[in-house]
Symmetry: C2
Subunit: 274 residues, 2 copies
């Protein structure tokens, strides 16, 4: 199949260019893309080197490269624009309408988006991450009064990565508590959870998918048996219904989507933004 190289070029981390490019390229599912990120392109020399790498990739492929860039400085954009590829830059397109609307010239200084322009923002993310780690899997801390949200679900339903993502991306304090045979058989939740009932949010998952995930961890035994998995999920869903705990099925969705659904459903405020 014809291969094509996609470049993400940034004077900073490249996260914005990658995120934008990924959103757009998923609209062209049948294509075959080789992806290269070139971060910290913040001098004219580095921009010329990037143009050279684009040329080399284009010469190797049968099709010319696509270049997503987020270059704040006009001079660097002008250099990359000369590349032999389709060049799409966020600042080229969106900066001018924003300058008009805001009646202000942009700073044209690189490194504000994912640089540490804000120590406070950094600390919030770190503290939320520490909170998630200390309150993971029913962990010893159980500072549930400090939590923004407490995720409930059976083992491997996606609780831990979701909590960490909420912390790192949004500075949200997310704890999680695993539903074990004790809660599932009793049909009850411990008092320390019931005291925080309005913060509870459930994760469900399809039995077959859960078995697949558990087998990656422990291929044999009760843990990943069809019977055990079905029992746990059935009882967990009963608990969510019984106590009217909002929940989301994580089977077909990504960590980003689980997180967005939780924030959207609970109305928890993002402390920081990506």
């Amino acid at each position: 199949m014809n291969e094509r190289t996609v470049f993400f070029i940034s004077d900073q981390t490249g996260v914005t260019a990658e995120t934008l490019g990924h959103s757009l390229l998923t609209q062209f599912a049948s294509q075959n893309f080789r992806q290269v990120t070139l971060p910290f392109i913040d001098t004219e020399d580095k921009a010329r080197e990037a143009v050279q790498r684009i040329a080399e990739a284009g010469a190797g492929d049968t099709l010319r490269p696509i270049v997503f860039s987020t270059l704040v400085q006009d001079e660097l954009r002008a250099i990359v624009r000369q590349c032999d590829g389709l060049h799409l830059d966020v600042f080229d397109v969106f900066l001018e309408p924003l300058e008009v609307e805001l009646q202000q010239k942009s700073t044209h200084e690189p490194g504000r988006a994912h640089g540490m322009s804000d120590i406070d923002r950094y600390m919030k993310r770190i503290e939320a991450t520490n909170f998630a780690l200390a309150n993971d899997d029913g962990g010893v801390s159980r500072n549930y009064d400090m939590a923004d949200v407490i995720l409930l679900g059976v083992s491997r339903s996606g609780k831990t990565p979701t909590c960490l993502y909420l912390a790192l991306q949004y500075g949200v304090y997310a704890a999680n508590y695993p539903l074990t045979d004790e809660e599932l058989e009793d049909g009850n939740l411990p008092d320390f959870l019931m005291q925080q009932k309005e913060k509870l949010f459930g994760l469900t998952i399809a039995p077959e998918r859960l078995r697949q995930v558990r087998k990656e961890r422990r291929p044999l035994g009760k843990y990943s048996s069809a019977q055990q998995v079905r029992f746990e999920l059935r009882e967990a869903e009963k608990l969510f219904r019984r106590f009217s705990i909002p929940n989301v099925d994580t089977t077909e969705i990504s960590i980003e989507e689980i997180s967005s659904r939780i924030l959207d459903s609970t109305g928890v405020e993002r402390r920081v933004r990506p």
Copy 2:
């Protein structure tokens, strides 16, 4: 000060709209923005509700809202375009040049970017996150042969959040090992690290900043004393020099930037992309 509301509207999670909007808005530092994310706007009714919310925000503020959107469906974009605000949509601008370049119509199906289009991608992120947790802080697993990178640094230099970010965002296997008084006084690294020397990457931080971070955790005692902090950082930097371990100063940079510097410096391949 005049306030202005910024909306991030998406038929999916809103992550792309948030990331893009944040990059652009940081170019206008003096402005005061109230930020609202409206995810999962995937029907015409919801799009009309969003337009209504934009109108209400505009009526409350002195300035009209700015709306960043990533709406794949033309009909939904057409509705949101009528809002009383500055509307900037990624697909409006970039989809057509991509369709021309790729000689293919885009699918116009929502939900591909951060939906679970790829179970494999999800599993890679989860597995990398589990690896980071099991190999955090010199953790019991020490599966360093499986690691892509092993971060070294003194306590609170940013190792854990960076490892988790590398795992969640890029599926990279990142372990971390804390430099304690033992290594710092001896000027040596344990054998199990020296055997993986090519994977080692150091984090440094300015003494005053480290004191500030440590004081948040433990305000009193040796741990956050000026003397101890200076000793640890001086000896850690000596170790990095002695063993030619590449390293980055995390004082002024964000988790995204630390991560990008590590990937850029080591050449470790991203297994997945945001």
